[in-house]
């Protein structure tokens, strides 16, 4: 656990540096009160709030990503036991990866990687 003392200290220092930047800004700025304005719209005004349900046309890819992302959980521990376990570690992992890659090929053929 001793490792995490310097890590927490660094996180605190990082936040302090950000805070100091804002403090210096407050000290030297010519106008302390922030400007509140409608968003920049090329010279127009918004007709509705921008925060909305955004149409992510790449949602198919997110599923594919999740499959691989789960695989990454095994990948790191696997990396440090390959020398110990031997050939079967490499064969098993890459058989698994080949199955996932088949998924990539399928999504590609279905046009999931293109969206316009």
């Amino acid at each position: 656990m001793g490792w995490y003392v310097p890590v927490m200290a660094l996180a605190a220092l990082g936040l302090a540096l950000v805070g100091a930047t804002y403090a210096i800004g407050l000290l030297v700025t010519v106008q302390r009160r922030p400007l509140v304005t409608p968003p920049f719209l090329a010279g127009g005004l918004p007709r509705e709030h921008a925060v909305s349900r955004f149409h992510v046309r790449w949602y198919v890819v997110t599923l594919l990503f999740l499959a691989f992302d789960m695989e990454m959980v095994f990948m790191y521990p696997w990396a440090v036991v390959v020398a110990e376990v031997g050939v079967e570690a490499v064969v098993e992992m890459f058989t698994f990866l080949a199955v996932l890659l088949a998924g990539v090929v399928y999504v590609w053929r279905e046009g999931g990687l293109r969206w316009t």
Binding site: V5, P6, G14, H49, V56, M72, A83, V104
Partner: protein, 309 residues
């Protein structure tokens, strides 16, 4: 290597990483100046300092009905994430903490930007910054997996996730030399994480600066500094991972580390001279080219590890 480094390293890290980030910003300014037909004078090298003064003096700005909390978290978070990502990065032989899972730690900190950049884009309640935030996510889906697999290649060869052990494993030959594809994919991934150069559509001019569209004053300064810090953190981590850490003749190890970090960073900054990559193209290239290539690289490394016994 076994005991934690002294606490002063916590103070040194922001100075070194900040210095590298400033170097990146200066180099960027000088490249712009030269491209515009101006001379690379001292004033051009100092331009980021002047630009920072400008942002500090200017009024801050929030948009109408902005999500102030989320926006703040996004803006400030990138600086902190970049600093924390560098915890396992050794300068010479000394890191803030040579964590037993240092590589995974870097991965975890770097991936925080998915949330932080998106939050900055979403929090502004502005159509252009919203589009910028989502562009980041679309790009991340393409580069992140290749980046993560590239990150596993050095630990596989070194038989350890500890960055110190990875450096030691490169005593005879640098990993960049016999796993060049993993090195290359890693660099592409870092360019994506820092949405830099060809992968800068999240903050591009075509959407009025995207995630930066509504930022001014200290907010803009902190956000842009975070981006340069992240680019620097990625360049710095490449050195222990692929370039033998502080190994080199004559000069002290910490200086070798620093020189190599600056060199990698300069290459990344120089990439701004290319045009942008469209998100859709990146998606195809990431999944159909980068991913198979880096998996092949990991397979080769695995076979080498087996042959070595």
């Amino acid at each position: 290597m076994a005991e934690p480094a002294p606490m002063w390293t916590v103070l040194v890290l922001p100075i070194v990483l900040g210095g590298l980030a400033l170097f990146a910003a200066s180099l960027n300014g000088v490249l712009t100046a030269v491209a515009s037909g101006r001379r690379a004078t001292l004033a051009e090298w100092a331009e980021p300092l002047r630009a920072s003064a400008r942002l500090l003096v200017r009024q801050r700005r929030t948009t109408f009905r902005a999500d102030v909390v989320l926006r703040r978290v996004g803006i400030a978070g990138i600086v902190v994430a970049a600093l924390l990502a560098s915890v396992p990065t050794p300068l010479g032989g000394v890191a803030v903490a040579d964590l037993p899972v240092g590589v995974v730690w870097f991965n975890a900190m770097e991936i925080l930007l998915w949330a932080l950049v998106w939050l900055t884009g979403w929090g502004g309640n502005s159509a252009f910054s919203l589009v910028g935030g989502y562009r980041f996510l679309a790009q991340a889906l393409a580069y992140e997996l290749p980046l993560m697999f590239a990150l596993t290649a050095p630990p596989l060869a070194a038989d350890s996730l500890r960055v110190g052990a990875i450096v030691q494993a490169q005593q005879d030959v640098w990993f960049a030399l016999w796993m060049p594809l993993a090195f290359l994919v890693y660099l592409i991934g870092i360019v994506g994480v820092a949405f830099w150069g060809p992968l800068s559509p999240p903050a591009a001019a075509d959407v009025a600066g995207g995630v930066t569209a509504e930022l001014s004053g200290a907010d803009r300064l902190v956000f842009l500094a975070g981006r340069y810090l992240m680019l620097a953190a990625g360049a710095a981590f490449a050195v222990p991972l692929f370039l033998g850490g502080g190994q080199g003749p004559l000069l002290p190890a910490w200086l070798w580390s620093l020189l190599k970090m600056a060199a990698v960073l300069a290459v990344l900054v120089w990439l701004r001279r290319f045009s942008l990559v469209r998100a859709e193209r990146l998606m195809s290239w990431g999944w159909l080219v980068l991913l198979p290539v880096v998996l092949l690289q990991v397979l080769v490394v695995g076979v080498v590890v087996l042959l070595r016994g």
